[in-house]
Amino acid sequence: MRTLPLKPPTDEVDWPMILAVLGLMTIGTLFIASTTLAREGAETLPWHRQEHYKQLIWYALGAGLGVAVCCLGHSPIARWSMVCYWVSILLLVTVLIPGIGTQHGWEARRWIDLGPFQFQPSEVAKLTFLLMMAHYLSRPAAELRQPMTFVKALGMSLLPCALILKEPDLGSALVFVPMGLAMMFVAGVPGRFLWRLIGGAGLIIVLLLADILFAPSEWQLKLEPYQRRRQKRNPCSA
């Protein structure tokens, strides 16, 4: 499927990116430390139970994984990306089954319990979706111009989005479509497809917002109170 030559691997280190990541890591740890240390009884916990230390452990694990992925190169990742995507879709379906997905005292069923820790399939889905989309869009410009390619790409963006909405987790769900569209845009999907889609979607969003904010209450869509508050305070953040 891949026809364009990819950038050859180099020994060059992408310093800006590494610095940016390190900076984010530092700030993140400090934030966690400053908010959790004031909590009642925080100082009596052993160090490995304190949140900012936990975060450092995750950093180490993540960095190790990152190095491993770099060593692996991107061709195996590209090959397996489609499989990973469908597996994560499967997980997104699984989490909706009451016996498997847990609610954690909240309304939404988002977690899969694995004993010592839980994970949210939607987080995994974000990553696998990204890889799959990159792989799928890496094709000649002529193919990208075909409407069918666009429709498939859009479909694969909407599928996780719909599943996550079912959990429900509006925030995570809304990530997929803009992500997919941005990738399609950069990859070279014709602008007219994208603009039409954005125009149509924009119109629907405006209508929905108008319904939520201004319609008589019996015609309004049901939103959680916190979501409604977010709408009122800052409609652009939706």
Binding site: P16, A38, E40, G41, T44, H104, G105, A182, F185, V186, G188
Partner: protein, 658 residues
């Protein structure tokens, strides 16, 4: 540059995307700037209100003193045991970790567990201290949870008013009892207990924040406010100015520190007209009739209106109200028959009965009654040897035998027929006008929340309503009601030649810490309410008749004030050298036509030649004025003589035996 280089990489579309994302990030940055810099002041202000709790410190309440500075109400240190919740926090955390035992819990479960664990730790601590103090704790789960929810920064009062033994036991074990400490708070104390309970009144506790006062207090330390009596009347002056302190709290509302902004300034002391030894004598005199006596006693200085003693029985002990009262105790204090909460001296309106004949007599004498004229008392055909008066078909019984009576004889024997006849001759308007001169039917405006005016109509009020029968009843004190204090003012006016004096309860308010302005903050001089428009001769005639009541054989008060030597048969006064003039009264309480109860009275003044003291005794359900009340008054006059007669300059002479 590193930053802009990124925009030159990749194709045109990638650059567009990069710019789009950068713009989005700039928007976030602008939002951050708005929150952190533009709205900073607002957030800082709300932070301040979250970290400070303003607490009101009640001032030390002023004392109540008798006329010579003897203490009637003061403040005693109360040692209270407080639980400081912030010091229990490590224990809360430890117990929580143990109770959780590494289980996975939802947020709601965690919160529930935390609440349970806190109560467990606190109740264990309280339980341990209760064992040391030898007293069961009274704090419930609900109280604790409420306290922790509302005021986690405020110490929880575990026990108030510890005994010295309990303090010692606590101090011994204090190191093993974290979170507990003793705090000293002033507590109202009435050293003479129920002796002057009604006059002093009592305090009610007010634990809640008082936002209406100076506003903005998160909570007030327990403060008290006068409910009734002098504690109520001078509440503002006694209370002083509360201070303010700030408690610094952390994000969980636990206490971190304290700062006192304004120290409390103590309230004024009130110096009463009351004389404590006299009050005690009066209290004991009235109690000599029995513990369940329902009665009132007032001793008043006839020269200036000073209330030297004021007793209502049964009495309550104001100390009881300082700590919360049990329901049982409350029920006892509100017994519908005994009514210990009721100040009978000013709150009780009773038929005066025959003591009202003083006013009937004055009205008749002013109208031209000749005190020497003989008026006939008709015999009662049903009761041989007793008189009666017939008004149409109605008969009013008399206690005296039939015959001719002049004024003095009728007065000292308290003849109903005589006074009904002269009263009817005098007429309704003149009689009622005379009563109004004595300020009957009006209250004195004492401001103690314990005063009623009694029922005494003006002539217009009863125009066309009162029949001759009603007027006849009024002549002998049946149709109208008065308070014992009103009768004291009446007696004093008869004794002092017609001056109506306002009953003076308090001499002055004094500053707790005398400044350059001197000690007296406010003085209450004696006040004349009016003067009787009667001839001195009429008053003298009444006074003579009152003297005859206690000194001449046959007078209704004779037996109480004179004693007969059983061996020699010689009659001597019970109070040598102190002549008392008085009038008895026995009013009937009727239900329909039957008499169900008696209100007995004795009003008197003395010494006769130089009147100084007026004494009023009223007893509900007494036997008769002469038998029930006059002996009580005699005891009071004995005490008055002992207390105020100038002591002999030398030691008493030994009486040589012949």
């Amino acid at each position: 540059m590193l930053f802009f280089d990124q925009f030159r990489k990749g194709g045109e579309r990638l650059q567009t995307l990069a710019i789009g994302i950068t713009l989005g990030l700039l928007l976030l940055l602008a939002g951050l700037w708005h929150i952190q810099i533009v709205s900073a002041k607002r957030y800082r202000a709300s932070l301040e209100t979250q970290t400070y709790r303003t607490v009101r410190i009640p001032a030390i309440r002023g004392k109540l003193l008798d006329r010579d500075g003897r203490v009637l109400a003061e403040n005693r240190p109360s040692y209270n045991l407080n639980l400081y919740l912030e010091e229990l926090r490590p224990q809360f955390q430890e117990a929580f970790t143990k109770a959780r035992a590494g289980r996975r819990l939802t947020r709601a479960e965690r919160a529930q567990l935390a609440v349970e664990v806190r109560w467990l730790v606190a109740s264990n601590t309280i339980d341990r201290i209760s064992r040391f103090l030898g007293e069961a704790s009274t704090i419930t789960d609900r109280d604790f949870r409420l306290h922790h929810h509302q005021w986690p920064y405020r110490p929880l009062a575990v026990r108030e008013n510890l005994s010295p033994a309990q303090i010692a036991r606590f101090m011994e074990n204090a190191p093993n009892l974290p979170g507990l400490d003793i705090e000293v708070q002033p507590l109202r104390h009435y050293p003479c207990g129920s002796m002057a309970g009604h006059l002093l009144g009592y305090l009610t506790r007010d634990d809640m924040a008082r936002d209406d006062d100076e506003g903005g207090f998160s909570y007030s330390l327990p403060s008290y406010e006068g409910a009734v009596g002098l504690e109520y009347l001078f509440d503002d002056e006694l209370r002083g100015k509360p201070g303010t302190k700030s408690v610094v709290v952390n994000s969980l509302c636990y206490r971190e520190g304290e700062m006192i902004w304004l120290t409390a300034s103590p309230g004024h002391n009130a110096v009463l007209a009351l004389d404590l030894p006299m009050q005690q004598a009066a209290f004991e005199a009235l109690r000599s009739l029995g513990p369940g006596t329902r009665g009132a006693l007032v001793v008043m200085d006839t020269t200036n209106g000073d209330v030297l003693a004021m007793v209502s029985s049964p009495a309550y002990d104001p100390n009881e109200f300082v700590s919360p009262l049990s329901h049982e105790r409350w029920a006892v204090l509100n017994d519908p028959r005994l009514r210990p909460m009721f100040n009978r001296t000013t709150q009780g309106a009773y038929n005066p009965g025959s003591i009202f004949k003083i006013i009937t007599a004055l009205a008749a004498l002013e109208h031209g009654l000749d005190p020497h004229a003989q008026i006939q008392v008709q015999p009662d055909p049903r009761r041989p040897g007793r008189g009666a008066i017939f008004l149409g078909r109605r008969k009013i019984d008399d206690t005296v035998p039939p015959g001719d009576y002049d004024f003095k004889r009728a007065f000292m024997h308290s003849s109903n027929s005589y006074f009904v006849q002269v009263g009817l001759q005098t007429g309704r308007d003149r009689l009622l006008a005379m009563g109004q001169q004595f300020l009957l039917g009006r209250h004195f405006g004492l401001g103690t929340r314990q005063e009623v005016s009694g029922y005494f109509p003006s002539p217009q009020d009863v125009l066309g309503i009162w029949t001759e029968g009603n007027l006849a009843n009024a002549c002998i004190g049946q149709e109208i009601t008065v308070t014992p204090l009103q009768m004291a003012v009446m007696t004093a006016a008869v004794a002092n030649g017609g001056k109506l004096l306002r009953p003076r309860l308090v001499h002055r308010l004094e500053r707790a810490e005398p400044g350059p302005e001197g000690a007296v903050a406010k003085a209450f001089p004696p006040r004349l309410l009016g003067e009787l428009k009667v001839h001195a001769r009429s008053l003298a005639t009444v006074r003579e008749a009152m003297l005859a009541d206690t000194e001449e054989p046959g007078g209704t008060g004779f037996a109480a004030f004179q004693q007969k030597n059983p061996l020699t048969g010689q009659i001597t006064p019970r109070i040598p050298g102190f002549r008392v003039a008085g009038k008895t009264g026995t009013a009937q309480v009727k239900k329909g036509a039957t008499v169900i109860d008696h209100i007995t009275w004795f009003v008197a003044f003395g010494p006769y030649d130089n009147a100084r003291y007026a004494v009023v005794v009223m007893v509900e359900s007494g036997d008769s004025g002469g038998r029930t009340c006059a002996p009580v008054a005699c005891r009071v006059f004995q005490a008055l003589k002992q207390r105020f007669e100038p002591a002999p300059a030398t030691a008493p002479r030994l009486v040589s035996r012949k």
